[in-house]
Amino acid sequence: MRYLLTLLLGFLLGASVAGVGLYFNPFTQTGGPQPDAQDSVYTYGSPVTAALAFTHGNLSRLPTSPLGIPELWEGTINHGALALLVLGSADGSTNAIASRISFPSEGTELLLRGAVLTDHWLISVPGQGSLFVSAESNWWPFLRDTLIPTWYFDRPWLGPAVYAPTIGPGADGKALVQGATGAFAGRAGTAAERYRLEAFDDRVGPGQVQAEIYWRLANEPTPAE
């Protein structure tokens, strides 16, 4: 009995040490790519509180909107979320509308990749065309630094904070873009996201966010042309 208790005590100690190591694991703290001068940059507000519409599978405390929007309650989709977002170009000249369907990725693991979210975007610029974006983002830095301490340990939030979560699925760590219709048809490229979190609310989570999605398509004319 004494040996068994000793083994159990050692096991718990080892598991705890590994748990702390995983929580602060440097391999899952990677930052994503930043925009450069040739990228088309579009900004938007919080996907939760500033979206035209937001719904999920009711497994989260995040509020849905507007009133009366159906939840994604079916067992095959209830871990997902849908946001309808208005995007504005950095110079304010163009607006776009984006549907973003997000699900936790089956590629999530806390040793090397982190808490991975898969986003499928369909972005349309009225009068110009649409494009598809397939993205994978590591949200472990956000969970570790913001959500877990604030929501589960009642710690004060030490913001603001900037997150560049995109990690793929492109080989260079960027999201993949495929032109769909209009001026974007037939063109492929890459994309990434960056979030500046200005406020984090105990109840609704990310309250005030300046988010950016930036992409570059092959054969895209430069602004000078």
Partner: protein, 215 residues
């Protein structure tokens, strides 16, 4: 001896946690059997169904690209900056051929010069996202309803079959992500409308029939 047991326990705990973090499937989406069929002349066929109005999640748009441009939930509007060019943005739950909900779809229709372009992103969590694009005559929907005597603002019931594009082809399958990356092919989009409610909501079924190939 006790010290050896303790150290063994520590190592076992470390190995279990690290192994679990690396190999335990933290996310494992439920997956129903894919209702695909191998076609006689090559390719793979798969049908996706959307039942209206129960599968509608969010719809918003401008006048001119749908029968009634009814927003859902009611009161939802595009901001002024996006209402200058005709567009219709819809989101639905998607079912397999057996009627089980398997995913979520976004459909964007934009007026572009003399035609309207349609893009579908069908996301199935366990399989990835399938991308479809096509073109339609922006007047065809309204003309078909005018042809059966429907007046906007009224309720209607009956049976109207509409193909976006043609009955043979509505557009192209453009691949997608995960399981759907590397696929190309065609699709047909058929709207079987059986009624329009007092609030302007459509009743019926949208059937997306895809034929895809590995390229």
């Amino acid at each position: 001896m006790l010290k050896t047991v303790f150290i063994s326990g520590v190592l076992l705990g470390l190995a279990t946690m690290i192994g679990g973090a690396g190999f335990y499937p933290l996310v494992d989406h439920p997956r129903l059997v894919s209702r695909t069929q191998v076609l006689p002349n090559g390719g793979r066929g798969e049908d996706f169904l959307i039942r209206l109005p129960v599968d509608r999640i969010v719809s918003v748009g401008t006048e001119g690209l749908s029968v009634s441009a009814v927003a859902f939930p009611g009161g939802l509007e595009l901001p002024d900056t996006l209402s200058g060019e005709p567009s219709q943005i819809d989101h639905f739950k998607v079912r397999d051929a057996d009627g089980n909900v398997i995913g979520v779809a976004a459909r964007h229709m934009l007026a572009l010069e003399d035609t309207a372009a349609v893009a579908w992103s069908i996301t199935i969590p366990s399989r990835g996202s399938l991308w479809l694009t096509g073109t339609v005559d922006p007047q065809s929907f309204g003309a078909a309803f005018s042809g059966i005597g429907y007046q906007p603002g009224e309720s209607w019931s009956g049976n109207l079959d509409l193909f976006m594009g043609t009955a043979a082809e509505s557009g192209q399958a453009r691949g997608g992500s995960a399981e759907f990356s590397g696929l190309s092919g065609t699709y047909t989009e058929r709207w079987n409308v059986t009624g329009i409610g007092d609030a302007g909501e459509l009743r019926g079924t949208i059937a997306l029939s895809t034929v895809t190939y590995l390229y």
